[in-house]
């Protein structure tokens, strides 16, 4: 997470792409996600350049000018290299995250959280959240249509922004009240079944630890070790080709 070693990030990017291919996730299923993260990546990199066009110089300690752009802004080799690192950081993580999202079963996720040591109450909260997102989304949609039918304007640019916020509150209010009722109903149901009585609980969707799991844990530990070792060799988070 901390490392900015270019070589390691490049290797991880290759690995991420390979894993993506191996997983046989259809690209058409995750295209939208890729698109979102791509836009975010471009925007963030662009913002870094605008706010601090010579940040790379402070990172690497040298300055190789390429050409003059506008006003006081110069194109500097160090900056380009620094931005390359930022982009590589994204390309090495985005495919993995998308894979995780598209291959993980929510209830298995909760039981796995519990197994790695998160308290089962928190794990259960996570699984409740995942379970109720579609319901709440549908409810929000219903409320929004109902309120619009009653003449409430939602996101019109013609209104003053205070008015817009007030309208948002009158959309939110029914949602909150119904969610409060929902909380009570679910909590009662769970209490009736004795939730929270014992220190531990079992999970219907728990999975045994298999050889493949141990293999992936080992790979993760190796990657972490690599980033630490490289950090020591580089004397910092960055790999510096300029010295």
């Amino acid at each position: 997470m901390i490392t900015f070693d270019t070589r390691l990030l490049a290797a991880l990017t290759v690995l991420a792409v390979v894993v993506m291919i191996v997983s046989k996730v259809r690209i058409s299923d995750v295209k939208v996600l890729f698109w979102f993260s791509f836009v975010f990546m471009i925007l963030n990199t662009f913002l870094i350049f605008v706010f601090s066009p010579e940040h790379g110089v402070t990172v690497y300690g040298t300055r190789h000018e390429i050409c003059h752009l506008v006003w006081k802004v110069y194109l500097v080799k160090e900056q380009l290299f620094y931005l390359l690192n930022i982009v590589l950081k994204y390309t090495s993580t985005i495919p993995v995250v998308i894979l995780f999202v598209s291959t993980t079963d929510p209830s298995e996720f909760a039981s796995s959280l519990n197994r790695i040591g998160v308290s089962y109450k928190i794990a259960y909260s996570v699984s409740l959240a995942l379970r109720y997102i579609p319901d709440i989304q549908r409810e929000y949609h219903d409320i929004s249509i109902a309120q619009q039918a009653r003449g409430l304007e939602m996101a019109s640019r013609k209104q003053s922004f205070l008015k817009r916020l007030k309208n948002a509150a009158s959309m939110l209010f029914p949602l909150i009240i119904s969610s409060m009722n929902r909380i009570e109903v679910i909590a009662n149901a769970m209490e009736l079944r004795g939730f929270g009585k014992d220190k531990k609980r079992t999970w219907y969707s728990a999975r045994p630890f298999r050889a493949a799991d141990i293999f992936s844990v080992v790979v993760c530990v190796l990657m972490l070790a690599a980033s630490i070792v490289l950090g020591i060799i580089n004397g910092g988070r960055y790999f510096n080709p300029f010295v």
């Binding site: 997470m1 901390i2 995750v30 996600l33 890729f34 979102f36 993260s37 990546m41 913002l47 870094i48 605008v50 706010f51 601090s52 990172v59 950081k89 994204y90 993580t93 985005i94 993995v96 995250v97 998308i98 999202v101 109450k121 928190i122 259960y124 909260s125 996570v126 699984s127 409740l128 959240a129 995942l130 379970r131 109720y132 997102i133 319901d135 709440i136 989304q137 929000y140 996101a155 640019r157 817009r164 916020l165 007030k166 948002a168 509150a169 939110l172 209010f173 949602l175 909150i176 009240i177 969610s179 909380i183 009570e184 679910i186 909590a187 769970m190 209490e191 939730f195 929270g196 988070r237």
Partner: protein, 183 residues
Amino acid sequence: MKKSPVILVVAIGIGAALFFVLGRFVAIPTPIPNTNFSLQYALLGFMAGLFGPIAGLLIAFIGHALIDFSYGWGIWWSWVIASAVAGFIMGLASKKLALSEEPFDGKKIIIFNLFQIVAHLVAWGVVAPVFDILIYAEPANKVFTQGLVAGASNIVTTAVVGTLLCFGYTKARPAEGSLKKED
């Protein structure tokens, strides 16, 4: 409200789901182009005020992490942590607010807003940019500008929508001791 641990678990779960839905699918444009009010922080202020700091922390943490996940860019830890800190600080007001028992009047409105302003200032003015620099090694002036813009817009959203939510909720609930035994 009785503070059963089961209620807390469910409130965190549903709260995180609400946080996610508002943060992911609901866009209220601000006067600044391409930025939206984050209604989820008004909700967070209300939920944290009702259920306390732990609930606030976890609702924001889980909700924000899920939002980041759903966009596919991975969890942007610095901002997730900042959200959690904001939720925690806003939750500290819960004892004084006693939303489920007492009406939400002048003094309470001030307390609520005081806590939310401090919470957002700490979260977006300090926590988010500092972690941005530590984890993602981004330039300082960029992250502080981003943090301040987000903080200011969240303060406004929470002040208007959050206050209205608290007010409406306490109005809708029958006040404690409003029932009298007939003689």
